[in-house]
Amino acid sequence: VIGAVPDEESRELPFWSGAREKKLLIQRCSKCGRYSHPPDIVCSECGSEEFRYEEVSGDGRLYAMTTFRNVPDGAEQPTIGVVELNEQRGLLLACEIGPEVLAAGRPMVGDPAQVRFDHITEHDLWVPQFDFGGGQGDSEA
């Protein structure tokens, strides 16, 4: 399940290259430790211009969810989730919640989320996504 894909240069950034190794890498300020996603160039907390990427737990909670229905007749209606990672308040990652997850019941705000990594064969791209509650595990698509 994927919409647009990151271009050749972008997919070498740690967020995507880390996903190839099933690691969720998030940019973190080298000075004050604040995480930024999307990555920043100057830390909005302390002004530092030095960052590193760190592997995070991949655990969080569902922040909000919607199904976008304003699509052409018959087209897929994607369900989009936002997950707040446990590492930092307001550290939000988008995800797409596939029909296989929804089939197990609609996740609710605050439900525990665990990262998983999906392989998009067509683009040879690994994409961080989330499971809620039970968990489905990594998948090939």
Binding site: I2, G3, A4, V5, P6, D7, E8, E9, S10, L13, F15, W16, S36, H37, P38, D40, S44, Y63, A64, M65, T66, T67, F68, R69, N70, V71, P72, A75, P78, I80, V82, G90, L92, L93, A94, C95, E96, M108, V109, G110, E122, H123, V127
Partner: protein, 403 residues
Amino acid sequence: MAQDHGWAGRNKVAIVGAAVSSITRRTERPLGGLVREACLGALSEAGLGVSDVTGVATYPFPGYFVSSPRAGVDLVGVPWIVDHLRMENLRWYSESNEGLIGAGIIEGVNAIISGLCDVVVVWRAMSRVSGRSNFGGPRPGTTVSGDAQYTLPYKISAGVITHALAYDRYQQLYGATRAEMATMVLSQRRKSSLNPQALYGDRKLTFDEYMEARMISDPLCLYDCDVPVYGAAAIVLTNAERAKDLASRPAYISGVSINTYHVGKVVGSFYMLQDRMAAGGATAKRLWKTAGVGPADVDVAELYDGFAPSTWYWLEAAGFCGEGEAHQFIQNGTIEVDGALPLNTFGGSLSEGRMHGMGHIIEATRQVTGNAGPRQVKGVELAVVFDGSPLLRGSALALSSTD
């Protein structure tokens, strides 16, 4: 630490004219013609003419993204209107993209207080793409870079999705329901029947129709989204001394505010309900400070409803009710014309059409000057407008009937 003395400009400038062109879903007329009509209408209400105008301001964004906009057709900026209204006495102009039209109004107020201008016209022109829009952004497989690589692969392809996410969170945190939102949307539709310029004034909307409406992005349905239109609106500002000698009754600008709350990376914050509340709270706090009043003093409130939940966020951020309480506060007649807090008395953008906040400003002006006709709230001394969604281009105005 910045010093805070309220606002020395309180009541020194007034809105002395307000006019709206026809508001339609489609029109054969050029957008520039609608702007001309609105500007001349607002001037004529004050008994002023084009030769009196010494300053102009607008927020030129036409309401949707167009790659090479044609002046006078897709957007109406300052050069076009200066040419086509033959403005020969201008001393100052501004095109600002912040606060919807809020920044332009505040700049106009400042230009008058400084003595640079004495009569300023501020307009807003809206146009739309025909047909159903927002079909879900780029095709699957399109390549992206920059911040979009963290949203578009996950199909966050339209502004409405970020609003829907915040509303979903609001509903679940506070136990709010669509049936509660129906109360507000239906109330606004009823009020619009008393507003001759409202696009949907003659279209009744029932509770069942609302509950069964097509969903745009859960939990936002069709009737929670404002209606894209062709239309133009304009107001005329002048100083308080001159205002007293004009044909119209002045609405004194007693307070102004604009959103200054920005988080480092805007793309992520769009989802964030708590950022919306923080931004709205900061905007409201400064409005009350500049105007020297509080929410309990307000006789009528016009709160932006580009998406219906924005109105709830403003009710809470401004302190009309507590956080998480707006869904209950608006029940039981509170927001009707004769209620404790008459709200969006012209029908809002949901029923009048998407004038990007200018509809709210013009209605507040009419209410405070006693020109609201059959929907006039009794004895209005103070009207407030909170414009924009709180986080995205929020701004606020307080209007008083006396100086």
